[in-house]
């Protein structure tokens, strides 16, 4: 009997039972048994750690500029010769290229949209734009009315559009989704936006945080939700830093530039032209630097503080300097090549963000179930509902 007890198997015990057993066991009479319980408890603890810590997943991008160039240019030609109608089909090809070449943990993303759905959304977008543009051209008063109507519809369009984009994205045969919470959308996009305006912009960083929080917290992957824990302070830090950098560059660059430029400007028209080119580059530089600071800081903050419940946590380490360099070289490539290097620009940008992204996969990743809206395979299914549209121009 004693021998049997020594080899007693504790693996069937729960952690609570083990703790109970440890306090009840007579440590002097059965030192081996106490030791066995302790060992089991330690094992459990480290096992628990591996569950909560998960494992790091590789994030990869497999696309390349040369391959994408031929896809891009042929689709662009087709779009132009069909006067834009083919653009819906082109968008599907282009998006699929980037989704299907993005790989997390050995699994590719899937892009599910059908061109016809995109085409319908675009037709609605064009009609709204034409209505607004004509109204504003013919009567400034009518423009105000149309503007108000569009403003009132924005929260609805935001929900529809986010829902479309998420539902058209799949990973491991499970679709993403977006809970269309219209009442919350109206509070954020109308209520908070008005507050932001009344505060003369002082509340804008807070507003931006509320918008990001709204978009993230209503996103789902199968039956799992994204849980963001964003901090208002980070948004203020990012906004203030990018504002100060723009101001700094504006003052230093602008005054140096003006003292050289203005003197020569009156004398020679070509120097005047040079001055204009310089101003455009200054403007681009300010735009890139301020934008990159905000984007890098906020992206990192959002990724580092968002979890997909029991499936994954994310982290992002976009370097501000790296992002500025990327954007500036992209701009240069675009201008020098008159747009023809666009495919390489898109590919290297995707690569940059993929490289800055890490994922921590938790055990629940295998057990995500499709939500009620998905009945079969993510790809094969007919997903177009009457309101499955993405109202957009481009």
């Amino acid at each position: 009997m004693k021998d049997m007890d020594d080899t007693l198997n504790y693996s069937a015990y729960s952690v609570e039972e083990l703790k109970d057993a440890l306090s009840n066991v007579d440590k002097n009479a059965f030192p081996d048994r106490a030791q066995a319980i302790l060992t089991e408890l330690t094992n459990r603890k480290s096992h628990e750690d591996t569950i909560t810590n998960g494992r790091k997943a590789k994030v990869l991008f497999h696309g390349n500029g040369k391959e994408y160039f031929s896809i891009w240019i042929v689709n662009l030609l087709l779009t132009i010769v069909t006067l834009g109608i083919y653009s819906a089909w082109a968008t599907v090809r282009n998006n699929r290229y980037f989704y299907s070449n993005t790989d997390i943990d050995g699994h590719r993303f899937g892009y599910l949209a059908e061109p016809i759905q995109i085409l319908i959304g675009r037709i609605i977008g064009v009609l709204l734009f034409v209505a607004y543009y004509l109204a504003s051209s013919f009567s400034p008063m009518a423009a105000v009315v149309v503007m108000l109507i569009i403003f009132a519809l924005v929260p609805m369009f935001v929900c529809l559009s986010a829902s479309f984009r998420m539902r058209m994205t799949a990973y491991r045969n499970i679709r993403f989704n977006f809970t269309k919470n219209y009442s919350r959308a109206y509070i954020v996009f109308v209520g908070y936006t008005l507050l932001g305006m009344l505060s003369f912009g002082l509340l804008y960083p807070w507003l931006l945080k509320k918008i990001d929080e709204f978009m993230l917290s209503h996103a789902t992957y199968g039956d799992k939700s994204f849980i963001p824990k964003l901090e208002t302070g980070q948004y203020y830090a990012a906004a203030i830093l990018s504002f100060l950098s723009a101001l700094g560059i504006g003052i230093v660059g602008g005054s140096a530039f003006a003292s050289i430029g203005f003197g020569a400007m009156g004398e020679n028209a070509e120097v005047g032209s040079l001055f204009i080119v310089g101003s455009i580059f200054m403007y681009a530089f300010v735009f890139v630097v301020a934008g990159s600071i905000y984007q890098a800081m906020i992206r990192n903050h959002m990724y580092n503080n968002t979890e997909l419940e029991s499936v994954a946590s994310f982290s992002s380490d976009v370097k501000i300097g790296g992002l500025i360099l990327l954007r500036m070289t992209n701009l240069l490539m675009l201008v020098v090549s008159l747009g023809f290097l666009m495919p390489w620009i898109k590919v290297r940008t995707a690569q940059f963000f993929v490289d800055a992204t890490q994922l921590n996969i938790e055990e629940g990743a295998e057990d995500v179930l499709a939500d009620q809206t998905q009945s079969g395979n993510a790809i094969g299914e007919e997903v177009a509902g009457a309101f499955d549209i993405d109202v957009a121009l481009g």
Binding site: Y97, G106, V130, S139, N173, L334
Partner: protein
């Protein structure tokens, strides 16, 4: 033939590593590596995503799940033997890629240079007179509330010069001679004149003073503004701006982010070329009408010279792209050459 792949189950994120062996089309077997299970399946009730670049092939099979297999020539050939993807062939074709590289800029140039303005002219002709009147009326009200103030030019002067102009307009061969001439003071516009599409023509007091009330010089400007109205330029510009913005967002819409910065500049540059075209048309209309008004084309040049003295004559190559008006230097030369 066997291919390595993954089988994603239907309704959950679980997956299994599999070996796919293809046999007599459309039948194939899927062997789950871990469990040893074998599924016999067929492409008959499957949806195959069309081939795109070298991304893995996705085959959605009812009841079984989503099969993802790396793209390989032999597998692609087998999968696509009955539903080949034409677009992928186009994207792979070196000839078509080369053709696109040449054709895209050419077609774009043709569209923006010829097709778009022609469409805009057609649109301008279709706009009902009622809409034109409302547009003009509302624009004038908005301007009066913001940048235009009442003129301090004497009534006598205004009556004298407008009577002369109304008589002149009747003599000229103008289809629709329903013009209405007004004077305003405006710090924002400075020495300037503009026409509303219904035939309302506004002179700023500053222009009258810059020209030292010289009636002939002012008449040159009047004829230019009449040219804008006669050629329906306001409506044309509305259509051109509208179609340009739509075309740009359609052709380059998916080029987002960075393009926002450039999209605006591009639209502005293209639109400025259009407005410059309109200015040339109005200039040449005015120069053509000068003789009918009993004036030499040189008077038109003189009016431009006066403006150049006030504003500088421009002429930098970049200014030419970034400005809504042609350089005054070029416009003066154009009028002088017309003699």
């Amino acid at each position: 033939m066997q291919f390595k792949g993954k089988l994603y189950s239907q309704g959950s994120s679980a997956f299994a590593d599999v070996m796919v062996s293809i046999g007599n089309y459309p039948e194939f077997n899927v062997l789950c590596v871990d469990s040893g299970e074998i599924h016999h399946s067929t492409l008959d009730n499957a949806k195959i995503n069309p081939k795109l670049g070298t991304v893995p092939r996705e085959i959605a099979i009812d009841e079984l799940g989503l099969l993802v297999v790396d793209s390989e020539p032999s597998l692609d050939a087998w999968l696509d033997q009955h539903q080949s993807s034409r677009i992928h062939k186009y994207e792979k074709s070196k000839k078509l890629v080369l053709l696109s590289v040449v054709a895209v800029p050419l077609v774009l140039f043709g569209l923006f240079k010829y097709v778009l303005p022609a469409t805009a002219i057609t649109f301008a002709a279709w706009v009902p007179q009622g809409a034109v009147n409302i547009a003009s009326h509302h624009t004038l009200i908005a301007l009066e509330r913001t940048v235009l103030s009442p003129t301090t030019l004497s009534d006598d002067y205004q009556i004298e010069v407008t009577e002369y102009w109304y008589d002149l307009i009747e003599q000229l061969e103008i289809e629709n001679d329903d013009f209405y001439i007004l004077f305003y003071q405006s710090d924002v516009f400075g020495a300037n004149a503009f026409a509303l599409p219904d035939g309302t023509i506004v002179f700023t007091q500053e222009l009258v003073e810059l020209f030292e009330r010289d009636r002939d010089l002012l008449t040159a400007v009047l004829l230019h503004e009449i040219g804008h109205v006669e050629h329906n330029h306001s409506m044309r510009l509305i259509a051109e701006t509208l179609i340009t913005s739509l075309a740009l967002s359609y052709f380059f819409g998916d080029v987002s982010g960075l393009f926002e910065l450039f999209g605006g500049t591009t639209t502005t540059i293209i639109q400025n070329q259009y407005t410059q075209d309109l200015e040339w048309e109005a200039d040449n209309y005015a120069i053509g009408q000068m003789q009918n008004a009993g004036l030499q084309p040189q008077v038109y040049a003189d009016a431009m010279i006066k403006l150049a003295e006030e504003y500088g004559e421009g002429g930098g190559s970049l200014e030419a792209i970034l400005s809504t008006h042609p350089s005054l230097k070029a416009r003066i030369e154009n009028a002088q050459n017309a003699q």
